[in-house]
Symmetry: C2
Subunit: 463 residues, 2 copies
């Protein structure tokens, strides 16, 4: 038989049973924490209309988006298709036969694969607003797709685990969202991480006070974001390369050199209305967080920028020295949800770095050992007694036991080995019309049991 | 603000919280049953290489497949792209400027969205065979995509819940798979359904014995498949339209008229080796099933055809008069898995009609009422005391309670109303520095509690 290529597409993965169980374990903990905060589950389609996705993630996002070909579009196009696809209205296509067709612009694709969970939330919130509460607290755990260059911990299909609160400007929302994120990561077994806190309004004010123009804001914040990695000299070089004048660079670096605690930044921003408003929100957020799971971990960090997309207020990030990077991040974004609704709707959310967390948990041996546990591997040493095996399987399952029936006759040694491989607590097999019971721990092995005796023996086993 | 279209793509759906909870409920039951049978979870990527999907689902499948545009392909193409896309090697494209480019065939798309869970299983099994047991029992619960015409219960994105056993020819596999399927549907609350059983080898033999050529096999089976709907006269007309000669039609209809129990079919097939082999397997399957959950429901049905794709042996289907159709189906397919491996690998599986089951459960009021239950809606009548609220939320959650904190001050009446809407058992609010407790059942409402007293009151509440 000819053999076809069996590899999954570049940057995607098959999840084998042991790994699915690890993922299910992590997801069930995250879901429990989110539910305990009163977040409600939302799921949105994998496909979105391209016009709903386009322009929301910047130029890079548009490029990295997986786009779906219009249905009915032939994979290999002929002269008519080529003409339709041709951008230049005045162009003419001449086929081999001499037939000519005028060209006209047309779209090849109308749908795209979900790029994150935030734009779909905004769209779905607008579509279903009448059915949703005025303050909508939702969690969403689904895969997203980006045609990025694959690397360690970076895939083209990966899960996001988001919480968002839509419809409230209260800082209680920021405090609850950060607390839920911290609790998820703690419950997954991490202890060595902090919550970095900053404010987009504060960053804007700092940049403005340093004398930079609004068009340099993005450059400046991107440079400051690298402080941890490249140091102050590096930031200075980066700012210079991006065309920030020396006076501005000096002002920014002085601020960073000052230690840049809240009081230092307050002195730097004295009299700047928007900046002082952001400072007040940061102080309030730190104060509120004291009563939450984030309290002991949260600290102001002027160098946190969190990309530059849609954030408008507080931004925060879980940072772990172990990974040298972020375990997830979030913040307030008051201008995105409204795009589909035609009016401003405040929102604040957090996205866990799920694939990174899994990678760290795997490397750190942080998963329970018995996730794959089976209670009984059930088999027989000959093909006879298949009916008896099926009845035994049914009755053992009725006790709440997980029972895998081996459809092939095997020798006792092979059955025990298979049971060990499957992490089964017991191997049970039919041999000469009686059941033989072997237990991994070795303390209840028994021979030649009737089915009733076997059931009695395994009754009350923890399921 | 301008408003963007907020609808999800045609044939896809947003799942709002109450519905996600119903889906989660059904999935958790199905997963429990599959796990109790020792099936292990597998997940495969949403995207597959088009060449892995193509040609596996027939012409219709190729048409209904969602295909993903090559990355970097511009959405609107210019003259160079049009030329590349042009199928006819001799063709020439002339742009408005007079520039000409020779045409050459090229693919527009290289990836497709998963169309079912069986071809991905075959591919993944081949890719990871060294890491998988020789007999691999897996379950898979994931969405699939088909660009079909949407209708009631029919969507372009829908879930499949499959079990398959790869690597064994034993009929114990058929018996276990059918039993697991029955148990899932029973545990979801259905009682009024049967298991129809037939065999592809039997159908082939019947068609052959009726004197039809192999090229008429598909037509004949398709016609027989409609017996329930159109009656014998309808089947006769259908066979005639498909060009089956009268002698063949009469032989087939006589068989169907005979009642077509196993003995009747045995007489019809007497001496047909392949047919008698299939009959023996059917008798054995019925016998083995007596000890399983399928025992009381399973019956031979000559009119079951189960489409015509890849099945090779026993086929079965859960049929409910309530829905007038299938709740799921499966069977043995010994030639598909090997496509990616280059040698034959036997397999047998079942796919539940998940979306139909959900629809019926919703219509029949079969979901538990308290899936959305929240324990405490926590709020305040003024903006003061936000810190106290956060601490109370944390401590209540530490008791195992699900607590939703309302970030906006509200009057007591509004708080109670919101609690009722969220199906919360309690509303708790801070008013003048003390906690007020209201209970939906009305029996533990209390006023002016300190936080410690509140906690004591709610301790031991079922979570």
């Amino acid at each position: 038989m000819a053999k076809q290529n069996a590899q999954p597409p570049k940057g995607t993965r098959d999840f084998l049973p042991a790994y699915v169980r690890q993922r299910q374990y992590a997801i069930s903990i995250i879901r429990q924490v989110y539910e305990s905060y009163g977040f409600e589950p939302l799921e949105t389609p994998t496909l979105e209309r391209l016009e709903a996705l386009s322009g929301k993630y910047g130029e890079e996002g548009d490029q990295l988006m997986f786009k779906v070909l219009l249905r009915g579009q032939p994979l290999v196009t002929g002269i008519e298709q080529a003409a339709v696809l041709l951008q230049q209205p005045g162009a003419v296509i001449e086929g081999r036969s001499g037939k000519t067709v005028p060209g006209a612009p047309a779209l090849l694709a109308d749908l795209g694969l979900r790029y994150d969970l935030t734009v779909p939330l905004a769209r779905a919130y607008a579509a279903h607003q009448a059915e949703l509460p005025p303050i909508f607290k939702r969690y969403q755990i689904q895969p997203v797709w980006r045609a990025d260059t694959p690397g360690k911990g970076r895939y083209r299909e990966f899960y996001q685990c988001d919480v968002d609160v839509v419809g409230s400007t209260s800082l209680l929302v920021e405090a609850e969202v950060a607390s839920a994120a911290v609790e998820c990561v703690e419950r997954l077994g991490f202890s060595d991480f902090t919550v970095r806190l900053n404010h987009r309004g504060l960053l804007r004010a700092v940049v403005e006070r340093a004398g930079l123009g609004p068009q340099q804001e993005v450059d400046a914040i991107t440079a400051i974001d690298k402080l941890d990695k490249v140091g102050k000299d590096g930031v200075d070089r980066e700012l210079a390369e991006r065309g920030v004048a020396e006076a501005g660079r000096r002002a920014l670096l002085e601020l960073l050199e000052s230690g840049a605690d809240l009081d230092g930044v307050a002195r730097f921003l004295a009299g700047h209305t928007e900046g002082e408003q952001a400072l007040a929100e940061l102080r309030r957020m730190l104060e509120l967080s004291q009563g939450t799971a984030a309290g002991a971990r949260i600290r102001f960090d002027i160098a946190l920028a969190r990309g530059l997309g849609y954030y408008t207020g507080c931004i925060f990030e879980l940072a772990s020295p172990k990974f040298g990077g972020s375990l997830g991040g979030g913040g307030r974004y008051d201008n995105l949800i409204g795009l589909f609704l035609g009016r401003q709707v405040p929102a604040c959310g957090f996205s866990l770095g799920f694939e990174r967390l899994l990678l760290l948990m795997d490397e750190g041996g942080m998963f329970p050992a018995d996730l794959a546990a089976l209670d009984v591997l059930l088999g027989a040493t000959s093909e006879d007694g298949a009916g008896e095996l099926l009845v035994a399987a049914r009755e053992l399952r009725a006790l709440g036991l997980r029972v895998s029936l081996l459809p092939k006759a095997e020798k006792p040694g092979k059955l025990r080995k298979t049971a060990e491989e499957r992490q089964a607590r017991h191997a049970v097999w039919l041999e000469s019309g009686r059941f033989q019971l072997w237990t991994r721990d070795g303390d209840v092995s028994m021979r030649d049991l009737e089915r009733a005796a076997l059931l009695e023996k395994l009754q009350g086993e923890p399921a």
